[in-house]
C-alpha cells in the first residue's frame, strides 16, 4: 500500500452558523484519479478552497507529501505542486491566451528576478523556452489556434480549457479540477476527458469536482460523495451509485 500523497484530517469550515464542511477525512494516493460529487452547496468547492489555501482559517489538518500544508498561503501551496482550476471565471482577461499561459509558468522559472532585471542571456533563453512550453500546453486543450485572442473575449467553454492549460503550466503533482465540464460542448467534453486520462497516465494525481455525475462515473475509479458538508460515501463508482444515502441526497428524499 502506497503512502497517501494527500491526507485530509477532520476538515471543518464554518461560515457563521453554517457548516460548509464538517469533520471531513480523506486519503488520496499518488497517481489516483478521484471524483468528488454531491448536490449543490454540499461543500465541494469549499473543500478545494481549503486545499488550495484560498481559505486559511479552518479546523483540521491537511497533509501533503507527508508535510502539513494547512495554514499556508495559496502561493506556497502551489509551489508544493498543487494546482487548481477554478470553477468561476478566473483568467487574466485583459491579455492574450498565450500570455495567460506564459504568466502561469512562473513556478517553472529557474532564473531569479535579478537575472531577469539585467536581461541576462540565460533569462532571455528561458523566456524563449517558456513561450514554446506555453504554446505546447495549449495544444492538448485545442487552443493553439486561438493563442493570440484576448482571453476575456473567449467563449465560456474555452475559458475552462484555458484554465486547465494554465494550471498545468505550474507543473503540478496534484491537480484540483473544479467542474471543468460545466457548460461546455460535447466535443470539448471529450477533449477534457482525454486530457484527464492523459494526466493520470503521466502520474499526476487528479481530484475532480463535477456536477455531471455520468462523466465522473465513466472516468473515475474512485468517487467521494458529499452532502451538507459531510462525506456520505467513498468507494468505487458502482458501489457509490447504489448507496441508499447517496440516492436520497440526490433525490432529496425526506428522512424519517
Amino acid at each position: 500500500m502506497a503512502m497517501p500523497i494527500l491526507e485530509l484530517r477532520k476538515l471543518t469550515k464554518r461560515f457563521g452558523n453554517l457548516m460548509a464542511l464538517r469533520e471531513f477525512d480523506l486519503d488520496i494516493n499518488q497517481g489516483e484519479l478521484i471524483g468528488v460529487i454531491g448536490p449543490n452547496g454540499s461543500g465541494k468547492t469549499t473543500l478545494f478552497n481549503l486545499i488550495s489555501g484560498y481559505y486559511r482559517h479552518f479546523e483540521g489538518e491537511i497533509i501533503y507529501g507527508g508535510k502539513r500544508i494547512s495554514g499556508l498561503r495559496p502561493d506556497q501551496i502551489a509551489r508544493k505542486g498543487i494546482a487548481r482550476v477554478f470553477q468561476s471565471y478566473m483568467l487574466y482577461e485583459d491579455t492574450s491566451v498565450l500570455e495567460n499561459t506564459t504568466r502561469c509558468c512562473y513556478l517553472r522559472c529557474e532564473t531569479n528576478s535579478w537575472q531577469s532585471f539585467f536581461n541576462t542571456s540565460r533569462y532571455r533563453k528561458e523566456e524563449v523556452n517558456q513561450r514554446a512550453e506555453a504554446e505546447e500546453l495549449l495544444q492538448p486543450v485545442g487552443l493553439a489556434e486561438l493563442r493570440d485572442s484576448l482571453a476575456g473575449k473567449l467563449p465560456y467553454g474555452y475559458c475552462r480549457l484555458l484554465g486547465v492549460a494554465m494550471a498545468l503550466a505550474t507543473n503540478p503533482t496534484l491537480l484540483l479540477l473544479d467542474e471543468p465540464m460545466a457548460g461546455i460542448s460535447h466535443d470539448e467534453k471529450g477533449l477534457v476527458i482525454n486530457l484527464i486520462k492523459k494526466l493520470r497516465d503521466q502520474g499526476i494525481t487528479v481530484m475532480l469536482v463535477e456536477h455531471d455525475v455520468k462523466a465522473v462515473v465513466d472516468i473515475c475509479p474512485r468517487l467521494v460523495v458529499l452532502d451538507f458538508g459531510r462525506k456520505i460515501a467513498d468507494g468505487r463508482p458502482e458501489e457509490v451509485t447504489t448507496d441508499r444515502k447517496v440516492i436520497e441526497a440526490y433525490l432529496g428524499v425526506e428522512q424519517g
Binding site: 484560498y54 481559505y55 486559511r56 482559517h57
Partner: protein
C-alpha cells in the same frame, strides 16, 4: 475627568465627524469607491447656508433643508454624470475624478465666493446653563439635529423597504438586481443621502465656525480616519470611529495640547496594526 464643557465639545465634534463619515461610508458601501470630494461638497453646503441664511435671510431650518437637498442633488449629478459612466472602467477612474472635483470645487468657490472667511450668525442665539455646564444654544441644536438625523438614517436603513434594498445591493449587487432592486436607483439614492448628510453637517457647522473655500479638507481627513478606525463599509463603524475621534480629540487637547492631533493618528495606526480591517470591518479569510 475633564470638565463638562469639554465633554460637550467632544459631542459637537463627534456629531460632525459622524455625519460626514457616515455619508462617506454609505456611498462607499454601495458604490465601492470613496468620494474624495465629499469634504468639498461640505464646503459648498456651508456657502449655500451662508448665502441663504446669513445673506438672504431665509429661515435657518428652511435653509438647512434646502442645503441638504441641493448638495444631495449635486451628489446625484456627480454620480450620474461622472461616476456611473466611469464605473465599468475599474476603481481608479472614478476615484481620480473625485480627486479632480476637489480642485474644481475649490477653484469655483475661490472665484465666485471669494477667499475671505465668511461668518454665519447663530441660528439660535444665547447660552443655556444645565447644571455646571454652560453651553451655547447653537451647540445644543447641532447635537440635537445630528442625533435626530442619525436616528432617522438608522430607521431608513434598517426599517424601510428602501433600506432593505440598499443593504441588499451593498451585500450582493448582482443577486439584488435579480430580485428587482434597480441598481441605478439605489446608487442615486445612496449618493443623495450621503451627500445630503454632508450638506446637513455643513449647515450645522457654519454658524459655529466660519466659511471659506478650504474648510473641506480637515473634515474629509477626519472622516477618512473615522472610517479606517471603524471599518470600511460599516456605518456603525463610522459612528464609533467619529465619536472616538471627536472625544479623543477634545480630551487629548485638554491633557496633551497640540500632540492631540497626532494622537488621532496613533489610534489609527494601532487599529491598523491589530485589526487592519477596522473595528467593525469584515476580517479577511
Amino acid at each position: 475627568m475633564p470638565p463638562p464643557v469639554v465633554w460637550m465639545d467632544g459631542l459637537v465634534l463627534s456629531s460632525i465627524y459622524i455625519l460626514i463619515a457616515s455619508g462617506l461610508v454609505l456611498v462607499f458601501s454601495i458604490m465601492g469607491i470613496v468620494n474624495f470630494a465629499h469634504g468639498q461638497l461640505y464646503m459648498l453646503g456651508a456657502f449655500l447656508i451662508y448665502y441663504m441664511f446669513a445673506r438672504a435671510g431665509i429661515n435657518y431650518f428652511v435653509s438647512l433643508v434646502i442645503t441638504a437637498v441641493a448638495i444631495g442633488v449635486l451628489g446625484v449629478a456627480i454620480e450620474r454624470g461622472l461616476l456611473r459612466p466611469l464605473a465599468p472602467k475599474g476603481l481608479l477612474p472614478p476615484v481620480v475624478v473625485t480627486l479632480g472635483l476637489i480642485f474644481l470645487f475649490e477653484g469655483i468657490a475661490t472665484l465666485f465666493f471669494g477667499p475671505e472667511k465668511k461668518a454665519v450668525p447663530s441660528a439660535v442665539p444665547g447660552v443655556s446653563s444645565i447644571g455646571a455646564l454652560t453651553v451655547s444654544n447653537e451647540k445644543l441644536l447641532v447635537v440635537a439635529i445630528a442625533i435626530a438625523v442619525m436616528v432617522g438614517l438608522y430607521f431608513l436603513v434598517s426599517h424601510t423597504k428602501m433600506g432593505l434594498a440598499m443593504r441588499a445591493s451593498a451585500q450582493d449587487p448582482y443577486t439584488a438586481s435579480l430580485y428587482g432592486v434597480s441598481r441605478g436607483r439605489i446608487l442615486s439614492l445612496t449618493m443623495f443621502i450621503g451627500c445630503a448628510l454632508a450638506g446637513i453637517a455643513a449647515a450645522l457647522m457654519a454658524p459655529l465656525y466660519y466659511v471659506d473655500p478650504w474648510i473641506g479638507l480637515t473634515p474629509l481627513i477626519m472622516a477618512l480616519l473615522a472610517i479606517v478606525i471603524g471599518g470600511l463599509g460599516s456605518v456603525l463603524g463610522a459612528v464609533v470611529g467619529g465619536a472616538l475621534l471627536g472625544f479623543s480629540g477634545t480630551f487629548l487637547i485638554y491633557y496633551l495640547g497640540p500632540w492631540s492631533e497626532l494622537a488621532a493618528f496613533v489610534i489609527v495606526i494601532a487599529v491598523l496594526l491589530f485589526r487592519p480591517e477596522g473595528i467593525f470591518g469584515r476580517p479577511k479569510a
